[in-house]
């Protein structure tokens, strides 16, 4: 099972892709629009936000309003229905089968600074820097890569049974004493797997090598499959056929007579199959079929069956072993050692603007990169923690309010203002959980030097600019009104800010029989919008978009511009467990939270309800 919690980011490339529906498949597919259009360098008021397609800001009500806080609850329910419908259209659904292909952990994402866009492995173009063997770290020149079959031609071989690295040892290794290490071992050698003890001597014609070096050359002489020879036979046949034709038409002086003969010959006969028309001069011009094609032989097949019956299941290859071999042998004794597959170091370019995002050092041995624009350095990362350590990620209790601490960390050198939007009910399932972010808009400080943090006194959290997040009507909380800080940020430090997110999972029946999807998995999509004032010190023309461009060398007059971007994050919170006695669905017009005084028999007491929340330092 996956370990909770996890946070994935949806690469926006999937929004741009055509929604190919099968029903109107005849319709031509619209190609992708160049993502460079989605530059974020526009004023905030620009209606063409990058998420325009989703019309997110329009039809989307951020779940700031507390369900419980509303006095007119009937109305609220109605509204909720409405917004839910809206949500379905606009929301990112992590359960959609396609989103599995666009969600990535932040570590897997790159960031194109020119497009101001994250780039997933699908949005980049790979360029090979060098080829090398992962086993001996030998760099293979590009000219020989293909002819070598993309495999190491030195001494790196893998066990065909267990894929461990094979060692070259003398055949009479076991009989010789261990003291003979320093001596030059003599005699025939074989390849030995130290993991599963498979050796090349196990093969039906045992393979034994004369020298312990240049194994590839020796092996290629010793192993020769019937498929290869058949392939060569066919190839020769066709080459011959084509060669004949060529000779007849171009080089031969008798071409004309042949051509004449061709017409006369053809008038009489049909397709020229088999040998019925063999031996005539005309025949030579036709493409013939191969001489004695291999016939299906019952005898051979019976032999295989008998061998299977005699040798048993253990002697046959598993599908994995078979796939690793070029000719898919059926029996273990037909396996041959596989040379190690080469690997490449690749540089990656943004597919939209062709800028290099990753460029490794070309030396094989170094792991350094010349350029590496990873998303981790450019977009805020989210982490989620339990506020209450008794919460079991794998067994969330239905109807109980689970509180988690959502932390937004800012990697940028500018302070950012973040707004978190989430559908009030998790989309894509019939068993939606209620999600409430207590403070959806806040600021996160710049990722300045650590010393700055030590020198400066931390800002009080209350000074956060968000006016939206002010708590609603006082007294609407019964149990939480005593904690006024609940609706503000929970904690704010140098470059991260934490807010509380409340999740109330519903009671989810065991849907194993009826549904394909895992209904009990609780994943919360959160739309994170980030705004900040960036110093523009680039002197590229396109990046500015419609902005008045400026010739700013990095030392020159820095112009600040408003940058905004937004992504869907998906938080895998956990799995909802079976309902627990005592924790029941709340009535429609009572707060969703579990009353403090409710006796709860379950071992996992909602302790969070009792432990007072830590006050924000002021």
């Amino acid at each position: 099972m996956s370990s909770f919690p996890y946070i994935h980011i949806s690469c926006p490339c999937h929004e741009d892709r055509p929604q190919t529906l099968t029903l109107d498949s005849a319709r031509p597919i619209t190609p992708l629009k160049s993502p460079s259009k989605h530059d974020f360098n526009f004023p905030l008021t620009d209606p063409h936000t990058p998420t325009k397609r989703r019309t997110l800001l329009g039809g989307f009500t951020p779940s700031v309003s507390f369900d419980s806080g509303n006095i007119n609850l009937d109305l609220d329910e109605e509204e909720e229905e409405l917004t839910d419908e809206d949500d379905d259209n606009n929301n990112f659904d992590p359960r959609d089968p396609r989103s599995a292909f666009s969600l990535f952990p932040i570590e897997n994402l790159l960031y194109c600074e020119d497009c101001h866009q994250i780039r997933c492995p699908r949005c980049v173009q790979d360029e090979i820097v060098c080829w090398y063997c992962p086993s001996c770290l030998f760099e293979v020149p590009s000219s020989t890569v293909k002819s070598d079959g993309n495999r190491c031609t030195r001494n790196c071989y893998l066990c065909p049974v267990c894929t461990a690295l094979l060692a070259v040892i003398p055949v009479n290794h076991s009989s010789g004493h261990s003291g003979t290490h320093s001596d030059h071992p003599t005699g025939p050698f074989n390849l030995f797997c130290s993991h599963c003890h498979w050796t090349t001597s196990d093969l039906t014609p045992p393979i034994q090598l004369e020298k312990p070096t240049s194994i590839s050359a020796q092996l290629s002489k010793l192993t020769h499959s019937s498929q290869d020879s058949e392939f060569i036979r066919l190839k020769q046949h066709y080459a011959q056929q084509l060669g004949n034709a060529q000779e007849d038409f171009t080089n031969s002086p008798a071409a004309l007579t042949r051509l004449m003969g061709l017409y006369t010959g053809l008038g009489s006969g049909s397709g020229g199959h088999g040998g019925s028309r063999k031996g005539r001069g005309v025949k030579k011009l036709e493409m013939k079929e191969v001489d004695r094609p291999r016939e299906v032989g019952e005898e051979q097949e019976l032999e295989i069956i008998e061998r299977m019956a005699v040798e048993g299941l253990e002697s046959t290859t598993t599908s994995k072993q078979r796939l690793a071999q070029p000719h898919e042998p059926r029996f273990l004794s037909d396996l041959t050692p596989t040379a190690v597959l080469l690997r490449t170091k690749r540089s990656k370019r943004c597919r939209a603007c062709r800028h290099i995002l990753v460029k490794p050092e070309s030396k094989v041995q170094t792991t350094r990169f010349r350029i590496r624009l990873v998303a981790l350095n450019s977009i805020p990362s989210l982490t989620i923690k339990r506020l209450d350590s008794t919460i079991n990620w794998n067994n969330l209790i239905p109807h109980k309010t689970h509180r988690f601490l959502l932390t937004v960390t800012n990697p940028l050198f500018d302070p950012i203002s973040v707004s978190l939007l989430t559908p009030r009910r998790t989309p894509g399932t019939a068993f939606a959980s209620r999600v409430t972010i207590l403070c959806p808009e806040f600021e996160v400080g710049a990722s300045t030097d650590v010393w700055d943090d030590a020198l400066m006194s931390t800002k009080p959290a209350a000074s956060s600019t968000s006016g939206v997040a002010t708590p609603p009507v006082a007294g609407s909380f019964t149990s939480f009104s005593k904690d006024p800080k609940m609706s503000t940020v929970y904690e704010q430090k140098r470059n991260y800010t934490s807010v509380v997110i409340e999740v109330v999972p519903p009671e989810i029946p065991d849907t194993r029989e009826t549904r394909i999807r895992d209904e009990r998995l609780l994943e919360i999509p959160i739309y994170v919008r980030v705004e900040f004032e960036a110093e523009v010190d680039r002197d590229d023309e396109e990046g500015g978009g419609g902005k008045p461009s400026h010739s700013g060398a990095s030392g020159g007059a820095v112009q600040r511009e408003r940058v905004e971007y937004s992504y869907w994050y998906v938080i895998g919170v956990g799995r909802v467990g079976d309902p627990v006695e005592g924790v029941v669905a709340s009535e429609p017009n009572t707060p969703v939270r579990t009353p403090v005084g409710t006796p709860v028999k379950a071992p996992r007491t909602p302790a969070a309800m009792r432990t007072p929340l830590r006050q924000v330092r002021s």
Binding site: R98, F104, P105, V145, M287, E295, I305, L341
Partner: protein, 597 residues
Amino acid sequence: MSSRDPTKLSPNPPYKLSTAGSSAAGGHRSALSANPTTPQSRFSASSFSSPGGSSLHQVDEPLIFELGTRFFRAGFSNESAPRCKIGITPEMYGRIGLKGRGGTRMNRRTGEAAGPRIRNTGSEEWELWTNDLRLKDLGVVEDLMERVLREAYNKHLLIESKSKRLLIILPPIFPTAIQNTLSHLLFLHFQPPAITYLSSPVLSCLAAGLRSALVVDIGWQETTITPVYELRPLTSFIKFSSRGSKSLIEVFGQLLWNTIKPSGDEESWWRIFNWAEVEDLLSRFGWCKGSADAREDARQRARVAFGLPVGTGEPEEEGVEGRETEDEETDAEGEDIRVREEPSPADIRAQKRRQTIYDAKVEMEFKTPLLEERITKMKLPFEAMSAAAEYAFFLPSWTKVQSFKDQGKRPEGEETIKNYIPIPDIDELMEGCQGRVEYEDESEYTLPYLVFLALLHCPVDVRAACIPRIVITGGAAGMPGLKSRILGDLKELVEERGGWELVKTRNKKGDERRKELTERKEKWEEQKEKEKKEREMLQSEKDNLRIKYAKFGGVAPGTIRGVETMGAWIGGSILSGARIKGTVEVEREKFMSTHRA
């Protein structure tokens, strides 16, 4: 230049499928006889083999991709095997960086079942697409294809995708929507200069060294039977059947589950067993009985249906009726009778082989997380491994899948008839039909019968060319015994039908069988003797013919012969290695310009 293609490749037009295609062969032939100027197109091949041909593209050799439902193969031209063969697994549908399925699909351990979909057997995660596109989100297919292609390029081919042309081998009938998606995906993400699409039966034919053949491709979702004449697929004569590797595995899984299932448990087999394990076992150890054996089994089942004794079941009681000579040999067959008359070394060898095969046992174990025992062990006779093929390819589709249980072991004759296959109804036997009226569909026919029909419906010239050139390929064709079984059954079928008449003659052989069961033995044997003599005479005549044709190195017309192929991928490899360019090439610039906006 393209029209002068010597090998007569007619790749699928890239955007539309020629389902209701004109018979290429028919047109071709008429053109030949009518107009003497056309043959040029047939033989001239001059410029192709000249090194450094006219086109720049010919210099670099293309990559060859073969797109199957279950496996994707990719490699370089002029090589004897693809560089990689990537199987679709459920993990490929999952998220990167997340074990398990991230909510789109349940982990099997905790046991989420598939929903109420049509023919859902949990297989849809093991395939790239389904032919029934109503149920498939094409976007997912695209995403998955992208993932597979990226793996092939980055892990196995180790080549920059922009540099190489592509040659893509597709099944003869391929959904246009998917082909469109594929082209778009490739041009957008991988940017090859051009793509050529080729149809797989032609290449299978090429890889067998033939120019005409009946290509029986036993694929994952379906079996396609394509007549190829002069390297042109006759698309209007293609036959389809939903009997394929997938149904093979489904049947096998069902058999296994039925064996250990407690009564009343309605659980589906693919939730109990891991699909991969079942597939793996079948690919390792599945086999197919020979024609003669299967016929004998069917006969025994028929005897049971009529209440006649089987083998050594109750030998004494039914002595009058029983064929005591045969009783000593269980599952004895016609050839074995002859063995006793004149045992030759080959026959003894065959007998011995049968003995080893039927005595062998297989031990296997499966992970069954949903059952009480987490690991279920089974010990089955080796013969059981052949039952799945019977159901999947050779029994009427309404046959109810039984189990491997050893029920009702009789004390004396341990070797009673194996009940892996149900005893048919008497009515069914009497009707002796290939399909029931209510199931009338090509998928319901047994595979040999469908091959027979495919040949029967071909134009007579094509049929003449195809009968001695039957190429059986595809994933399940690797199962030992299957090819010769199909051919053997086909031979039998033709003999029974008495040729290639469209109108079926009276079922003589069936009559005899019934006679054998109902009438007295002596009479029947007399008749059999007579028939045997006739057959021998016929045989000797045929032999004469054969000798005559053998001189020319060919086969007599009308001889059913199977030819081994190296597979469509190899065909593509040979073809592009010979620098033969397809007639239709989809170029990137053109495609992107027409498909923009």
